[in-house]
Point group: C2
Chain length 190, copies 2
């Protein structure tokens, strides 16, 4: 999506360790009018699909997911991160590995808010190794709900997550796919 690529070039900051900071418009400050434009693009990409719920993961996915959900006219559910293993039987749980923070945590979602009849679109800001997305897919499968696909703002296409998830048969639509960020220069894959 050209609009997003231009914004990443203009306002994104590449940091050491292959880190792309988009803090000024995606995940610390949120340019909601801009995100609403991305939401309309997700709506166009998933036109004709029946969607009953948007699923995301706290914290930085929540704002984007809510704006996308307004566009689709459905509720959001966000999976909560927890450091303690949750053995309550009223939640679905799975595990997510954070490569940035070098730790594994559990994510949970209440069984009340993910039902077998739900048709779920996953929304998240980043896709790199695919661990968060994989954890969310697991929750949907445990609920017996249908995975319509995933809508990602920025995919690091040089990391394996995107391919891994697509190989599982899950549709992934990423609005910007980064091919490389060597020496701070961002190149996109089309």
């Amino acid at each position: 999506m050209q609009l997003l690529e231009e914004r990443i070039i203009r306002d994104g900051v590449v940091r050491e360790g292959n880190i792309l900071k988009v803090d000024s418009f995606v995940n610390h400050q949120i340019d909601v009018a801009f995100i609403a434009q991305l939401a309309r693009e997700f709506k166009r990409l998933y036109a004709g699909e029946e969607i009953t719920k948007i699923l995301t993961i706290e914290a930085s996915g929540i704002g984007i997911a809510c704006i996308v959900a307004l566009e689709f006219g459905v509720p959001v559910v966000f999976a909560k991160k927890t450091m303690t293993v949750n053995i309550a039987n009223d939640v679905y749980t799975s595990k997510v590995e954070s490569f940035t923070h070098k730790r594994t945590y559990d994510i949970i979602v209440s069984k009340d808010f993910l039902k077998p009849e739900d048709k779920v679109l996953i929304i998240d800001d980043f896709l790199a190794m695919g661990s968060a997305l994989h954890g969310l897919i697991q929750l949907i499968r445990d609920a017996g709900a249908t995975i319509v696909g995933a809508g990602i703002v920025i995919e690091k296409a040089y990391q394996e997550g995107g391919q891994l998830i697509r190989d599982m048969g899950v549709r992934v639509e990423s609005l910007a796919r980064i091919r490389s960020m060597d020496s701070g220069h961002i190149e996109f894959a089309h």
Copy 2:
């Protein structure tokens, strides 16, 4: 706000220890169309005020703040919680005590996203002891920005936070104010 009070009566669950769960429409599942109606009420209450930014705190404030921000046509900034004292000089920090989780944590916001010329509306889901709100006010003051006021979805009016913050001279608008929840029966203050 009658619409909200009716929804709380219908879908809220009172748990032991004075806990009100509104997980089905505010802070686990988010009924975004409903929150958009609350956003319009905040817009009406703060009509005539110049607002350049919405400030909230992760995680459960983010979704509501983004929907409110769309209504006001301004960006959101969310303060991040951190367990480690952050001494970086590119962020403002303050402390928030969580009475639910019985611990204190630091919250931070980048100096890039809170400027002296900003006129800030704080948005959050709950106001009880007022610790989160107090921490956010501190960040705005440290930035030299203007506090226009706070917009709260649910205030526990029998706890001291609301009075404390109003006594600081900060305008607080709560869409539902709970006077008591004794024996699971919710009474509102008007």
